[in-house]
């Protein structure tokens, strides 16, 4: 058990590192690749818990993670990127350095906040819950500081990942049918968002959300 927890802790820290890294980079393709890495790590977490606890549906979760988060979603995103021929996030609201500083600050906040929540009986990985909160915060940071629609989508998926991690740790996953529903939703969400992104690109000739500031008051 202890060994498994340590593994999960390691994986969680890796997730955090990946997320912080994604804050600093500007390339959109690499951003999506980092999502793939996050998803793989999550699948590993699920698998580890599955091995250690013997819960069969954790395996299902791992496989679903691989299929949806690591394969389907990035595939859609790559399609969009190809369609709009876009490479880099230009002029984010924060420079890479500042974004990293804020990201680390948010991660610390997450540790502080999560420390107050006593999750007795959860999977005993101490890092996992703070990391999941940190992922949520970092996702929000990404959404709030990036101008490209696709970057905001990356942020949104980071948030989802954080929630998913928390779900894995805290409750060994939701009931399977709920989880399938959530995965399905994620897939549709990404699909719908992709469609919207394409349409926005078509309409405004850009994916810059600066254009999307006309509805006020």
């Amino acid at each position: 058990m202890i060994g498994a927890a340590a593994v999960v802790d390691g994986l969680a820290l890796a997730l955090l590192a990946v997320a912080l890294f994604s804050v600093t980079i500007r390339g959109l393709v690499s951003g999506v690749w980092l999502l793939v890495v996050q998803s793989l790590l999550l699948a590993l977490v699920a698998a580890t818990i599955g091995v250690s606890s013997g819960a069969a549906h954790m395996w299902a979760a791992a496989i679903l993670t691989l299929a949806v988060r690591a394969f389907a979603v990035p595939a859609v995103l790559f399609r969009v990127l190809t369609a709009v021929a876009l490479k880099r996030e230009t002029r984010p609201l924060l420079s890479s350095r500042d974004a990293l500083i804020v990201g680390v600050g948010l991660a610390l906040t997450a540790y502080l906040a999560a420390g107050r929540l006593e999750l007795t009986g959860a999977f005993p990985a101490r890092q996992a819950l703070p990391v999941s909160l940190a992922l949520i915060f970092i996702g929000l940071l990404l959404m709030a500081t990036r101008r490209k629609a696709i970057s905001q989508l990356i942020g949104l998926i980071t948030i989802e990942n954080g929630i998913f991690l928390a779900g894995l740790i805290a409750t060994l996953g939701l009931p399977l049918f709920v989880e399938i529903g959530i995965f399905f939703d994620l897939l549709v969400a990404v699909g719908v968002t992709a469609v919207l992104t394409l349409r926005i690109n078509e309409q405004f000739d850009t994916m810059n959300t600066d254009e999307l500031r006309r509805l006020r008051g």
């Binding site: 529903g181 309409q203 006309r214």
Partner: protein, 489 residues
């Protein structure tokens, strides 16, 4: 054998049929909406005063609260689907919708309706979340249906904020599940409403506080509670009008339903004060935030949207006030708001198509242009802003009375309610009168609006009657809802 599954199934089938039989899409959609109206009414009225009922092997759960939402969704969906027929025809005529796209409009409308019916019927809170998330996705596409820049912008913000908010809600549900699986043991039933409600007292209080806070913010975003409401005026304002009707009349209530379920749960664990106070505060903030945007507004549908923010705030505030009267009035007000807002949006949509714009500055002389929609707009505004003798006054009066009789925070909230509704009354009426009166512009668009009298007058007369006398069936309905919403002191 409950009819409840039919409510989800019928629109789904209708959606498939619409996709398959493009030429008859409008008729299919209208027929489906009529069927769900009848079935919804049957399901709803059999739920009031009866013990809660499970359907579809425990997947669905129908009590009075679900019944009320089902009733509202059925009513609003029927009006929206029926109104969509002339609306879409006019929009095609005005080259806003390509003829080939028409069927997809109905497909998405029916899918949205199916998801909205699913929300109040789901026994499992996780699946309820899934249903709510599904409504976001389907309606986001509808909001963007016109593919204009503004619609896309609105849809984008709606989707992003909705997704983030619902993410928090999911996190809250996870925590609830965690707390429940501890209390009830590892069980697939740990997120089932009936189980949770029965064992609420056994849940971990600290966890439930955080869970409720997250769910409140999450579903509150979807329900348009301030300060998470920012997507709402955009989406409601830019969507095709039948979609605005669905969003404002039905969907907001569905999201609020989610909040209410968790409120009951949290109150079961923590006692009523924590969640009630949060609802009270958020409700009061929503009312206060809506006021300035109503006073200074340039777009008719945005005006109505901010009014929705106010009214969702009022319902939240009413539940926060609690007590038999407050809860009865909350249920009553949900119903009133949906009916009145639906009428207002239909009237606004009809006028908007005549003028070719929804900018308040360009709309005038509506009484000359289209007397019935203009009447609907003016009388509907008077009704929804809580002027006697219309039903929203009765419900708001009940809420204020409960607030005045309650604890100091409730009294303060009731004062906010009264002050807010007066200011909103002045603001909305100013804009609406300027639309309805004055001299009409010379150039108008051609747009037909058959059965205008039925769309406009029937709901207004209903609101008038309910402001003075409530049919015993509805009285029983709202009492039953109040009984479900009752939290032990």
């Amino acid at each position: 054998m409950s009819l409840a599954p039919l409510l989800v199934a019928a629109p789904l089938v209708a959606a498939l049929l619409c996709a398959a039989v493009a030429r008859r899409a409008a008729a299919i959609s209208a027929l489906a909406a009529t069927i769900t109206l009848v079935v919804g009414a049957v399901v709803a009225f059999s739920s009031f005063g009866a013990p809660a009922e499970h359907a579809l092997a425990g997947l669905m759960y129908v009590d009075a609260l679900s019944g009320l939402i089902v009733l509202i969704v059925a009513l609003v969906a029927a009006i929206a689907a029926l109104y969509a027929v002339p609306y879409v025809r006019n929009a095609v005529g005005a080259h806003e919708i390509a003829p080939t796209e028409v069927r997809w409009f109905y497909v998405w409308i029916q899918l949205s309706i199916a998801a909205m019916f699913a929300v109040p019927l789901m026994n499992n809170l996780g699946l309820m979340w899934v249903a709510i998330e599904t409504t976001t996705l389907t309606t986001a596409l509808l909001v963007a249906f016109f593919r204009r820049g503004h619609s896309l912008e609105a849809a984008w913000k709606y989707l992003m904020l909705g997704a983030v908010g619902l993410g928090f809600a999911l996190f809250g549900i996870l925590l609830t599940y965690y707390a429940a699986s501890h209390a009830l043991g590892e069980a697939a039933a740990a997120l089932d409403w009936a189980e949770l409600r029965a064992n609420a007292a056994a849940l971990d209080p600290a966890l439930m506080r955080v869970a409720f806070a997250l769910v409140l913010i999450g579903f509150g975003t979807k329900a348009g509670l301030a300060p998470m409401h920012t997507w709402l005026p955009d989406a409601h304002g830019e969507a095709p009008t039948p979609v605005s009707v669905l969003l404002s009349g039905a969907l907001l209530n569905c999201a609020l339903y989610g909040v209410l379920r968790f409120h009951l749960l949290a109150a079961g664990t923590l006692g009523p004060s924590f969640s009630s106070d949060l609802l009270l505060g958020l409700g009061a903030i929503s009312i206060a935030v809506a006021v300035p945007f109503v006073l200074v507004q340039h777009d008719l549908k945005r005006l109505l949207a901010y009014s929705s923010v106010e009214h969702m705030g009022i319902v939240a505030l009413a539940v926060g006030i609690g007590g038999p009267l407050g809860l009865f009035a909350a249920a009553f007000h949900m119903f009133n708001h949906s009916l009145a807002k639906t009428t207002l949006f239909v009237a606004a949509g009809a006028l908007g198509q005549r003028y070719g714009t929804l900018r308040l500055a360009r709309m005038r002389g509506a009484f000359e242009v289209a007397p019935l929609p203009a009447l609907g707009l003016v009388v509907g505004t008077i009704a929804i802003t809580g002027a006697p003798p219309f039903a929203p006054f009765a419900s708001e009066f009940g809420i204020a009375q409960a607030g005045f009789a309650g604890r100091p925070a409730a009294l303060a909230a009731a004062v906010v309610l009264i002050a807010g509704s007066v200011l909103v009354f002045g603001g909305m009426l100013f804009h609406v009168l300027n639309v309805a009166l004055r001299t009409a512009p010379r150039h108008l668009h051609v747009a037909s609006f058959p059965f205008a009298a039925a769309f406009v007058c029937v709901p207004l007369v209903a609101l008038l009657v309910m402001g003075i006398w409530l049919p015993p069936q509805l009285r029983e309905a709202f009492s039953a809802v109040a009984a479900v919403l009752r939290v032990a002191p």
